[in-house]
Amino acid sequence: MTKRTEYSHALDLQNGRVEMAHGSGGKAMAQLIDELFLQAFSNPWLEQMNDQACFTLPPGRAVMATDSHVISPLFFPGGDIGSLSVHGTVNDVAMSGAVPKYLSAGFILEEGFPLADLQRIVQSMARAAEDAGVAIVTGDTKVVERGKGDGCFINTTGIGVVAEQLHLSGNRVQPGDKILLSGTLGDHGVAIMSLREGLTFETTIASDSQSLHDLVAAMVTGVPEINCMRDPTRGGLAATLNEIAQSSNVGVTIYEANIPVKPQVSAACEFLGLDPLYVANEGKLVAFCPADKAEQLLAIMQQHPKGNEAAIIGEVTADPLKFVQMETVFGGRRMVDWISAEQLPRIC
């Protein structure tokens, strides 16, 4: 790879900071791109240095998704904003049954942000993209004045291709479908919560942030009849189930006893007055499939390292009221409602 020009001094990636000039379109920006982004994301499309990437997609229907990442703190156990920005979009594309292929990356950086942190984030993105089999083929960098951003925001857009015979969608779920969850709930949200300012709560929980493209590929190859998949991120499993119930005009019943939650997550939620059903995940999926395929799909998921704690957690019912209900471990029933806003801890 050749540099566009020779720079008098190399970018100070140890002690340097983002300056307004890095977003100005001038030489400083070119240097940031050359010495940081190109180094990390290196691929033939990016190296052409065009304002766009031009590529041919393999046969199938194209799938596209976008996601902006504004997480605080930027670095957390189990990941950082860089890896998360890849996983989030890769998973949104993959939930259609597609194979994710290409990503764009848009950075909004705050003046004064340490270049060492930016390098860490960018390298983490590069590793996550490589793991997910996607190339970051186009990008953009803007710098905002100090105090007008929160260090680093990243938007990624992903493109993938889904096989013609696959038709996964939130409005295709049928009464009688079984609901499968790929693993434990709440790891990401609790990991983040434990780091947030004002909460000194020591826990060993790491975020579950990971790309699910390979788990999805195994699932749709084995059971192409899957009606829908979603990754329960913000709003948690509760929000996802309510979205599907609304889109497909169905009811949902889940069984609390079947829902996997790590003991540490459960304890943290108990302590904070949170409900794991509403806590965010970044590396789990929920799948809806015909009942006669459920056991087969479960076996496929459990054989995969990203689904070895998978469980059948409930089923879809015919319900014009589109209620999501849960049979509690206690033997009673309750609604699992949409959450109205962010979950806030109760005081007692």
Partner: protein, 381 residues
């Protein structure tokens, strides 16, 4: 999970539920009030009404600190943050509660006020130490459970000589609220419901002990069973209340003996007593003005009293006239009786106190119990 799952054992629950069914006399109704919002929340979260026979009716009391805080006090907190430019520290579940003109602490923050969510009173004091050029006010709310930490932080601030820290005190008292319900002219005049007994508070009782409830058992002939917040605690307490009613007893019994003693936590009570004194009267959402039902900071700690430190004045704020929260908190109406419930008044847009927090009766009905409505509709169709 150790010490949690044990109290959520479904098999044991079904056994106790079976005993409740066999001991509750079919010839009569049992109206039992759980005072605490924590109990209300647990009842719905675990689907306990499904396990009870039809003639055992749980009535939801006013023990939700967020719900009963009057709008006027919330408005004052918002005013402190907006007009007096303080760093206002609040517990999380107070942040979203709408005050006058639907303005909440979260909205005030969006408009530029410096409102911080804290997990403990000590976090607020630390903020004051870290920001010596700013006034920091801790928005103290809650029943006897959260009062000792507030007392402690005031003592700590005095000891450390922190000059930019004060407390906006809204601590309220459980026994006074129970008296208000039992003496309520509303309950008497409407005469719709006779309460047969109380499930007594869990965490509050760890502080005040079981002794303060004894006069209710004697003066009002009402059985009281203090219960933990776990679902098995609740079922066991309900069984104990039914037995008392059946045997014509009215005693204070303690189901939560793993945490509650007759005397309570003497050290906590002592520091609370050193720091606070009773107010002559305090306004409760839903209950109105209740005599001797809240605490204020004693004169010797006046420098830490936000009400003395800042020129704030009391302004009354009217509730929606169609709101039934008053009668609901007195146990004479159910959320289902309210025309606003689920339509004009929802957890996203609460008009009355019971819809405000997940511990409020209306919010619990709405969030956890709405499927019951469809069952009722089916049965009557």
């Amino acid at each position: 999970m150790k010490y949690v799952d044990e109290y959520r054992d479904g098999k044991l629950a079904r056994e106790i539920a079976e005993r409740i069914r066999s001991e509750a006399l079919p010839s009569r109704q049992y109206n039992l009030m759980e005072f605490c919002g924590g109990h209300t929340h647990a009842i719905f979260r675990y689907g306990i009404p499904d396990l009870l026979p039809d003639n055992v009716n749980m009535v939801h009391g006013p023990g939700c600190p967020v719900c009963v805080l009057p709008i006027s006090r919330l408005d004052t907190a918002i005013e402190l943050a907006v007009t007096h430019n303080v760093i206002l520290c609040s517990y999380g579940d107070m942040m979203r509660v709408p005050g006058s003109r639907k303005r909440s602490l979260l909205k005030a923050r969006a408009e530029g006020a410096d409102v911080r969510m804290v997990y403990s009173s000590m976090d607020a004091l630390k903020l004051a130490q870290d920001n010596p050029d700013r006034e920091v006010v801790f928005f103290a709310i809650g029943f006897e459970t959260t009062t000792p930490p507030t007392a402690l932080v005031i003592h700590q601030a005095k000891k450390l000589g922190v000059k930019n820290f004060s407390v906006f005190c809204n601590h309220v008292l459980t026994p006074a609220a129970i008296s208000s319900i039992l003496d309520s002219p509303e309950a008497g005049a409407l005469g719709l419901l006779k309460l047969d007994g109380f499930v007594g508070p869990a965490h509050v009782s760890t502080v005040i002990g079981s002794q303060p409830y004894e006069r209710f058992a004697v003066e009002y002939s009402k059985p009281i069973v203090i219960a933990g917040f776990e679902p098995l605690d609740l079922l066991q307490a309900i069984l104990m209340l039914i037995r008392q009613v059946n045997e014509g007893r009215a005693e204070v019994e303690n189901e939560f003996s793993r945490a509650v003693t007759r005397q309570g936590n003497e050290r906590a009570k002592q520091i609370v007593d050193e720091t606070f004194e009773e107010r002559d009267s305090f306004e409760w959402r839903g209950l109105g003005f209740v005599p001797r039902s809240a605490l204020q900071i004693r004169a010797e700690f006046a420098e830490f009293d936000a009400e003395k430190r800042f020129p704030v004045e009391y302004r009354s704020s009217a509730e929606n006239s169609a709101c039934l929260c008053g009668p609901i908190l007195h146990g004479v109406k159910s959320p289902r009786d309210c025309t606003l419930f689920g339509g004009a008044c929802t957890p996203e847009n609460p008009l009355g106190p019971c819809m405000v927090s997940s511990e409020g009766a209306c919010a619990a009905y709405y969030s956890y119990g709405r499927h019951q409505e469809s069952l009722i509709a089916k049965e009557s169709a």
